[in-house]
């Protein structure tokens, strides 16, 4: 997946959960990513963050850090 597309998708998810009441947006984004993103996609997200994570919503970054490591 192109990095732009991945960033766009991750930010969309973050935007929804940020709009929800409560202070647990990052947890909920993480749960959403675990439930719906195939391990390859999560791995790509983590790799991208390791390289700086340009353009990613801070909540998406915080969420990614809560992801369980995955065996691809």
């Amino acid at each position: 997946m192109s990095p732009e597309k991945m960033v766009h998708m991750a930010n969309q998810i973050a935007a929804f959960f940020k709009s929800q009441p409560g202070a647990d947006a990052a947890e909920r984004v993480a749960a959403h990513l675990s439930d719906f993103w195939e391990p390859r996609m999560r791995a790509q997200l983590l790799a991208y963050i390791a390289e700086g994570g340009a353009g990613l919503d801070p909540v998406a970054i915080a969420a990614a850090q809560r992801l369980k490591p995955v065996a691809a």
Binding site: M1, S2, K5, H8, M9, Q12, I13, A15, F16, S19, Q20, P21, H32, S34, D35, F36, W37, E38, P39, R40, M41, V70, A72
Partner: protein, 960 residues
């Protein structure tokens, strides 16, 4: 092949069923009790007595014109018509007497003398009700010489007969011969009452009168007729007759089955002569359609025997080579070798499947089982990804299940209907007819759509409000409706306290009450006048039973899932859940979208919508299948294509889907497919995806297999094999061949065994068996110990998840915005006569109604660009460009253009982008920023594409 015997009463009862207090009367000495308001004719039919009739049938109100159904009633003068006379307590009726027999015979004799063409006294014309009645009343000779007739082009003296009209054969599927018309007006009533199109009238007076389609200048094709066939079905004389019957003769046997087109899921009698299908007649016992149908189901089945159908398996090394026809063994062997090699080299997760919403539940179940239990990963997806996946997410979050809440019968009890992002008269025609009937009875309609769909204003139907929003602003409009309801104190707090999570409601109410959600604040953004929106919200909240029907205009957006939650909020706010006449009703596109989702087609869910991460759920299937199931979600269709381009996804088994044509951003789909080593297409035709395939496995049509489809009401309908598969195998058998060649060791011998496995593993299907469906005709899931006969209405005593959940729905604009380069917004849809990517309907005479996709553009935008009606125009977005012809119309608002996607040469999806719903990746088909300009003809892309397709479709003659 065993024919299915119809176990249900299929007689014509003469007049429609009534509800009311019981009334008891005596007919020919038998006592019979029927609801008040029932006609004497129907009461007699209930007692097993058939009164002769010509102008009555149980699908339309009686009219009393033929006078054949006369009876005698003690204490009443004369001989009243039994079809128009309601029963009364203690009435004593005689349907046979010397007097009525004489009168009936006289009536028939007059018809016979006026209509020599029908040959009433000879036995040739078995389909004609008129003829049956002639025999019933014992008419053997006609004493009158006709003074004038409708039949002969010339009179005896050689002059032109002024009463003669030529046969109208403009409709591709049936003819109208005015010479045989007895002016019973059944067709007119069927068109008005059943179909709701009002295309027919009776022209002229007395002997001169005849039925006419449209005005005197029209023929059937140029009239408003939508070719549903209801008029043909009721015609008692063969004046309206199917061309197929004229060509092939009358059918000899019939099998009840289910339409394979849209999510309405109409039941049909497939009527056959030998092994040849002669006619499809909607089946009265079908609970989705109640005896009605649309042009597709009734008439557009010729594709099943179209010459383009591929009947032998084919393979090729690379997609640049021509296809080679091979044996099944060789094709399956080739496919398995490649798949194994791919998995060895690129890993377990490098292959996957796409299941089809056009295939049966049993077939879908096997395809997802193939990936989970044989490929050992969860890479399965289905085309519902690109249509209703947000429904799954949105309703799952709010109500606890993605299921639509009602059955179609529910619409008969509704008072206010919101239709949002759906175009039922085109997409779900039979539902639309039922809705229109309710609207004519006085229910109110609110349409929320960027385009002026037919329901906004058509014969005898007017929407109370049309909120013509800008594409992409659904969430803002739905939230504004909720704002008005909450802020004006119209919310049904009693319902909410009892049925929903109150604390969550309070949070939601505070959120939605904020002035930023008010219609005044959002008007500039949505384009919907605030006063109109307020009035619509008040109507919905106060108008009685409120129901919401929605389609892909809601889901196919960046905020598709959020909009679905907003709709669920509206229903809960107004207490419109859990009884007849209300509810949230996703109108599913294809025949088995519901079923394919139920069957575990999504990569994160096992059958019955249970996440693969749950060990208890996996355990059920691990036990049944004897394998370990991957606990991680698999790839969705767009993710598969991305992974293919990245080089980690190499093999795909695609059953009955055409992702190249139907998925957005065609270039990206093509690149993904081209990057794979083994694409297996299993379909009736060499579809567009097959241009990139290495293996082609021929499929069987719905007429050639057994199985079940589940329609938009969760109704599981039986699909019955009416002829042997022309390709040799039913589709589930093909999947089994492939699985077994990969070592699966499956041994299903009938789809009923697959259903038994589904029932054993999936709680909502626990009670479903083929026997039960045969016995009940159909059953709506959940069907289990709690509701052994299924569940017409969901959430009756409480939500599936317990308390209904209000979810905050903040409007977030899509990033797909109109700007200087792409100033217009494109939205897409479909039309009645064509279906989805058109693979089936384009191969029928339905093309007379739609032979190409057109771009609808507002006169103002057209004029600015120098575009006239019918001009070739170039449609460009940041993804790509295509060309098509323009249709200048004010159905679309300024700034909005619209097209359909039924034809592959248009390739509207070259233009759509890769933006998608935030939660489900459902593509944002409904909003693309575009520019439109004049053009001279096909774009380079279209020409290249056509060349590639032609090259890719070459087939070598079979090797000896």
């Amino acid at each position: 092949m065993k024919d299915f015997i119809i176990p249900w009463d299929d007689r014509d009862m003469g007049t429609p069923e009534r509800q009311g207090a019981p009334v008891t009367l005596s007919i020919d000495g038998f006592e019979v009790t029927v609801p008040e308001g029932t006609s004497v004719m129907r009461a007699a039919a209930e007692a097993g007595i058939e009164v002769p009739k010509l102008c009555a049938t149980d699908s339309v109100d009686a009219f009393g014109s033929c006078r054949l159904c006369l009876v005698e009633i003690e204490g009443r003068k004369g001989t009243p018509a039994s079809c128009t006379t309601p029963v009364a307590p203690g009435m004593v009726v005689h349907t046979q007497s010397e007097k009525v027999n004489r009168l009936r015979k006289g009536v028939m004799e007059l018809y016979a003398s006026d209509h020599p063409a029908i040959g009433l006294t000879d036995a040739a014309n078995g389909d004609s009700e008129l003829q049956k009645m002639a025999a019933r009343v014992g008419l053997r000779e006609v004493r009158y010489e006709p003074l004038a007739d409708h039949v002969h082009r010339r009179l005896a003296d050689g002059t032109a007969n002024p009463d003669w009209r030529p046969v109208d054969d403009s409709n591709p599927y049936f003819t109208y011969d005015p010479a045989k018309c007895i002016v019973c007006s059944l067709c007119v009533r069927a068109c008005d009452e059943v179909q709701g199109t009002f295309a027919l009238t009776i022209e002229g007076r007395g002997f001169d009168s005849r039925m006419s389609a449209g005005t005197g200048l029209d023929d059937y094709l140029s009239s408003d007729c939508v070719s549903c066939g209801a008029c043909v079905q009721v015609c008692p004389t063969g004046s309206l007759q199917e061309k197929s019957v004229a060509e092939m003769g009358l059918p000899e046997r019939s099998v009840i089955t289910t339409c394979a087109y849209c999510g309405v899921g109409c039941s049909f009698k497939a009527e056959l002569r030998g092994d040849e299908l002669v006619r499809m007649e909607p089946y009265k016992g079908g609970k989705a359609n109640r005896g009605h149908s649309c042009v597709k189901g009734r008439f557009a089945w010729g594709y099943a025997t179209h010459k383009d159908r591929i009947l032998s398996p084919m393979i090729r090394e690379t997609i640049n080579e021509p296809w080679r026809e091979v044996s099944w063994d060789e094709a399956i062997g080739f496919a398995t070798n490649r798949l194994k090699a791919i998995q060895e080299r690129y890993g377990r997760k490098s292959v996957g499947v796409i299941t089809s919403s056009r295939c049966t539940n049993e077939e879908t179940y096997l395809v997802q089982k193939l990936t989970r239990a044989v490929f050992m990963n969860n890479n399965t997806d289905t085309c519902a990804r690109v249509c209703h996946s947000p429904t799954g997410y949105g309703l799952g979050q709010t109500f606890g299940t993605s299921a639509g809440t009602q059955d179609f019968d529910s619409v008969e009890h509704t008072d206010v209907v919101i239709v949002i992002g759906a175009n039922p008269t085109d997409g779900h025609p039979v539902f639309a007819s039922r809705l229109k009937r309710r609207l004519r009875q006085g229910a109110q309609l609110i349409v929320i759509d960027p385009r002026r769909i037919d329901l906004v204003k058509s014969a005898h139907v007017r929407a109370a409000h049309h909120l013509q929003l800008r594409p992409g602003t659904n969430v803002a409009v739905v939230s504004a409706l909720a704002h008005v309801i909450v802020a004006e104190g119209l919310a049904n707090e009693a319902f909410i306290r009892e049925r929903c999570d109150w604390d969550e409601y309070l949070t939601y109410a505070e959120f939605i009450r904020d002035p930023r959600h008010s219609p005044e604040a959002t008007e500039a953004l949505t384009g919907v006048p605030a006063a109109e929106l307020r009035a619509a919200a008040r109507l919905f909240a106060k108008g009685g039973n409120g129901s919401i029907y929605y389609g892909l205009g809601v889901t196919e957006h960046s905020q598709g899932s959020t909009a679905v939650m907003g709709i669920a909020n509206l229903a809960m706010l107004t207490g419109n859940i859990g009884r007849e006449g209300v509810g949230v009703n996703p109108l599913r596109g294809q025949n088995n979208v519901q079923g394919s989702c139920d069957m575990g087609s999504f990569p994160h869910e096992l059958p019955g919508y249970r996440h693969v991460k749950n060990p208890d759920v996996r355990a059920i299937f691990e036990k049944a299948w004897g394998v370990a199931i991957d606990p991680e979600p698999g790839l969705r269709i767009p993710n598969m294509l991305d992974a293919a381009v990245d080089g980690s996804f190499k093999g795909l088994y695609c059953q009955g889907e055409d992702i190249l044509q139907s998925d957005p951003d065609t270039r990206h789909v093509a690149a993904g497919l081209a990057a794979m080593d083994c694409v297996i297409v299993h379909d009736l035709f060499l579809n567009e995806t097959a241009n990139y395939a290495h293996v082609f496995l021929p499929g069987s049509s719905f007429l050639e297999k057994n199985g079940t489809f589940t329609n938009a009401e969760r109704r599981i309908n039986m699909v019955r094999k009416v002829m042997a598969p022309k390709n040799g195998y039913e589709d589930w058998e093909v999947t089994q061949l492939l699985a077994n060649a990969l070592g699966a060791g499956w041994n299903y011998t009938h789809p009923s065994q697959i259903m038994d496995e589904i029932a054993a593993t999936t709680p909502s299907f626990a009670g479903v068996t083929y026997d039960l469906i045969d016995r009940m005709g159909s059953v709506q899931w959940p069907c289990n110990e709690k509701s052994p006969e299924g569940t017409p209405l969901m959430h009756v005593d409480g939500f599936v998840r317990g308390k209904g959940r209000f979810i905050v729905t903040e409007y977030l604009a899509t990033d797909e915005k109109a700007g200087p380069r792409f100033p217009l917004l494109l939205t897409t849809g479909r039309i009645l006569s064509q279906y989805n990517v058109g693979a089936q309907t384009r191969r029928t005479a339905n093309t007379v109604w739609h032979d190409q996709d057109l771009l609808e553009i507002h006169p103002h935008d057209a004029e600015n660009r120098g575009i006239k009606n019918g001009d070739w125009v170039r449609l460009a977005s940041r993804s790509g460009e295509t060309t098509l012809r323009a249709k200048v119309t004010d159905r679309v608002a300024p700034g909005v253009v619209y097209t359909t996607f039924h034809h592959p040469d248009t390739q509207a999806n070259v233009v759509t982008t890769d933006f998608s719903d935030w939660a489900t990746n459902c593509p944002e088909y409904k909003v693309t920023a575009v520019q439109v300009g004049r053009s001279n003809g096909p774009s380079d892309w279209q020409e290249d594409y056509a060349a590639q397709a032609a090259n890719s479709r070459r087939i070598l003659p079979a090797a000896e």
